[in-house]
Subunit: 239 residues, 2 copies
């Protein structure tokens, strides 16, 4: 039984309004995001169903949904795992983020009114606070919220689900990226973005978003360093 790691998935109480499938989906999604379940670990429907104390059906649907978002991988044989990360794949995800998110930002910019600009400014301030406190989880969440608020200014946006998929695939490394960023914090790219928006300078906004993403994931530039992060994440989850 020690081949399978214990799967320390949080209980996370369930809201009455949401369906069981949604709850299972959210729980598993968070588990992948936080790196609770490590890459390569085989997941079975019945095991998760027993662990979460639900029937097999909601688990089945949640697994398939996560697989559709590329958060999980359906192996040809009947096994479901968290995809392994490689330096090359990481680089591809990073570049895809830049391509998609700069595009989304430029498309959203014309729709940003003063109301939303204030929201973004406030989010940036809260990120600074969390930065001062060293609260990595909060930084990650607020950072995502900042990007989401920016892109969703576009009322016809269709890129958000695609971007969320990329975030999900980056998964636990986002957290590590934040830890790394906290040590070597250089420039506030969000303020650069806000400045670009104020000037309606689409190119500057794209550059700010690009820098923001690159800063956050810069440690992946060196394959060896990334590999050490991969290993570190495994040790973290085993602790």
């Amino acid at each position: 039984m020690d081949k399978k790691s214990p799967l320390n998935i949080i209980p996370d109480p369930r809201d009455q309004t949401e369906t069981v499938t949604q709850w299972v989906y959210r729980t598993l999604r968070d588990a992948v995001m936080n790196g609770t379940v490590l890459p390569g670990r085989a997941l079975t429907i019945r095991e998760l169903a027993a662990l979460l104390d639900v029937s097999a059906m909601p688990v089945r649907e949640a697994l398939r949904l996560l697989a559709a978002e590329n958060a999980l991988e359906l192996l040809g044989n009947r096994r479901v795992i968290v995809p392994e990360m490689s330096a090359m794949k990481f680089a591809e995800l990073c570049e895809a983020r830049i391509a998609l998110e700069t595009h989304a930002a430029a498309r959203a910019m014309p729709y940003i009114d003063s109301r939303r600009f204030d929201d973004l400014t406030e989010l940036d301030a809260r990120i600074d606070e969390a930065q001062a406190e060293g609260d990595l989880i909060k930084i990650t969440q607020l950072n995502q919220q900042f990007h989401r608020t920016l892109y969703l200014a576009n009322p016809h946006d269709i890129t958000q689900p695609l971007i969320e998929s990329l975030w999900l695939q980056l998964g636990p490394f986002m957290r590590l990226a934040m830890a790394n960023l906290a040590d070597h914090y250089i420039a506030d790219r969000h303020k650069e973005a806000l400045s670009a928006i104020a000037k309606s300078d689409a190119y500057a906004l794209k550059m700010a978003i690009t820098s923001d993403i690159r800063d956050g994931l810069a440690f992946a530039a060196d394959p060896h360093l990334l590999q050490s992060f991969v290993i570190q994440s495994r040790q973290d989850t085993n602790a």
Copy 2:
């Protein structure tokens, strides 16, 4: 009963190897792609289950998967529909395609060996044949195959599922685009792309892909024209 249109979904015999869920998924996906089921038409699990002569479960999973790919929309109330198309949304999808696919093409270019280059050349030739024959379905399929073959040259590609999602959302309009293109065929953008690849000119390749997508979807530039296509697609499916 005439509120609900008859849902002329093709039978399309089922392969023995694939699961029922996969078959249902493929059937519904094709139905959406071909515009067999029209936007706004409410789909129910039991109705589809009866129509396809399977139990409710595979239908449920297939619907959720298609919803996860944004091919279907889960309304807050318990209804599933094919999303309505608007000129703005169409434009967003078109621009997102350009952003993602030019990126994917540029990233794939370094990996294109002579073997794959020959494959692309042959696909282009077959597209010319289909063009001469006026076979719209074959043109659409081969065109997608051309793009897929190009992007998947990158062994670490992670953009393909995202691109497929966009194609799926464009859905039946791809077919209409091909019909429109057949009438006003100007330049062979695929040959331009091949030429760019031969010269390892990433910028030229991006421009060729951009032009290819724009040519195909140019009719959407005029909102009124797009609207006429939307209406036409409805009449087509009712015929």
